[in-house]
Amino acid sequence: MGGKHGKSPFPLVEPAISVHKLVKKFEDVTAVDGVDIDIAPGELFGLLGPNGAGKTTMLNILAGLLEPTSGSATVGGFDVRRNVANVRELIGVCPQDTAVYDYLTGRENVELFGDLHCIDKAKLRANAKVLLEKVGLSDDADRRVGTYSGGMRRRVNLAMALVHDPDILFLDEPTVAMDPQSRHAVWDFIRELRDRGKTLILTTHHMEEAEVLCDRVGVIDHGRLIALGSPDELKAKFGARDLEEVFIKITGRSIREGA
């Protein structure tokens, strides 16, 4: 699976997400520097890179939160600049920092975001129930989120992004600060989403997470896409044992050292 030139593994299918010569500058800092990626429908794509590499900036552009400086990006065939409303109908975004309402319960938080997508109330309640079960919060669903542990908050954070059953998902470091058990539960859940045909972009700086989950990964450093392919392809290409070593061989430093 995967192409050598950033092409979709399903070349005959129109990409779910397409990024061409994408540039984002913040005054004199170039956060995203000419990135080209096509992501096929149903693909689980990993954006790898150290903190500050430009991963979250890319997701923010794809979610319509930031205007690109130049280049183009489409999500579900919609231009993120011109058709941002259409894009937001399609996507679910799980932000890196948990963004939850402390004075609402877990269920209320999840249902609120379903309401923002105007999904049918009966379907919303059913979706919320299933999701809260899947992220292991059924017993605590009616407790205020302010009383949750950090891991529980992250799980609600994830459920809020999924309640409207989006076709395209942006998961920004979804397992950061989770205990190993919760992390593995979330990995299973992400695999299930891929099996249901969802298109996912997962940003992470955990190499293991990318290797275990992703169909393809794009390695970003200083805003530039420095490698693209399946984990096996990249390891073979750079003669590395794992993706951490791939990163070291390309950049000369560990991914944990930061951008």
């Binding site: 979610a63 319509g64 939160l65 409303a85 937001r88 109908e89 996507i91 975004v93 932000p95 920092d97 963004a99 939850v100 309402y101 004075y103 609402l104 209320e108 249902e111 609120l112 975001f113 309401d115 923002l116 997508h117 105007c118 205020r144 809020m160």
Partner: protein, 387 residues
Amino acid sequence: MKRQRVLALSGKTLKTIVRQPASLFMAILFPLVLTFVFGASFGGMGGGPEATFKVGIVNLDQGGAGARWPRAFMGNLSSAKVLDLSTYPDNSTGQEDLSKGDIQGLIVIPPNFGEACDSFWKDPDTPGSWVNATVELYLDSGSMLASQAIPPIIQDLLISVVYGRQRSVPRPVRLGLPSLVEARRLTTYDYFVPGLFAFATIFLIMIVAQSFTLDRQRGLLRRIRTTPATPSDVIGAEALSYMVVAAMQVGVVFAVAFAMGFRPAAGFPSIAMAFIIVLVFALCAVGFGLMSASLAKDPGAATGIAFVFILPLMFLGTFVGFAMSAAMRAVQWLVPSWYVTDALTHLFLRGVKPTSLSVLTDLVIVCAWSAGALGIGAVLFGKYGKD
């Protein structure tokens, strides 16, 4: 704007206010406690004094055939329970006490007062034959209560002395009984209550500013922006929620004030109009809150900036303004809260109809302020405050 989104976001805001102790206190408990404390301190329930005014009188018409007229006038003044009368030998002594604040008003009966009254009764239908006289009235400019209440009371008493209440002879100008004579039964608290409604709503500015800033700080506004919810949905929902809060505040203030002895000279239509005016004013508070949140980096700064709006609205436009200097009272018309208090004073204390020009004018001005504040707040927040 989608109804489902607006209702969901409004529900979220209302739940947050109710469940967050600080917000609940500021939105509901603070007005409740304030109204109660004021009622206990100044109202009839607390055994507080009825509104009485210390008025001095100087009678310069001491002799002559018409001396019975000033005596009758002074007798009428003495019998008015709302006035605490003291006599002065001359104008300068009275003026001195007035300037010291010992009295709130000074009446000076001119030397030709009796002569003027006699001339009127000698030939009531020939104004050209009357001797004109002017009763001078000096008021404490620092007391809004006195300056509002005393003139109509004195006027009423003067009319009853000069013309007599039962006089049936047609007069070119008929003088109705001034409605403010009802002030005899009003307590100091009654004068405060209209301002309390505006006072409670003003503090919504701080709650809105803190709420938006906190949501922004926690990434919640950014997260909402990844959904199909539009800025109109978000601001519409906030406006709706705070109108609900304002309605609750009006209900709380009214109920507590009523329990503390406040009896407005108003029926259901007037009370409904008061609700409408305060709800519209709540939109103004949301607008100022948005402006504060646009300028502030964090909730602490938002609180500080909110007070830039709160203080003038509070001091110039609510019951606090009663104690303001004449200079400050001259600029009260610049703040929207003054129009709220003015309209509610008309409705509750003066028994003015809700469709009267004065009340409708106040409502239109409050509407204009609210539309402007909300519009500017939304634009500023969209430009500087959302991230």
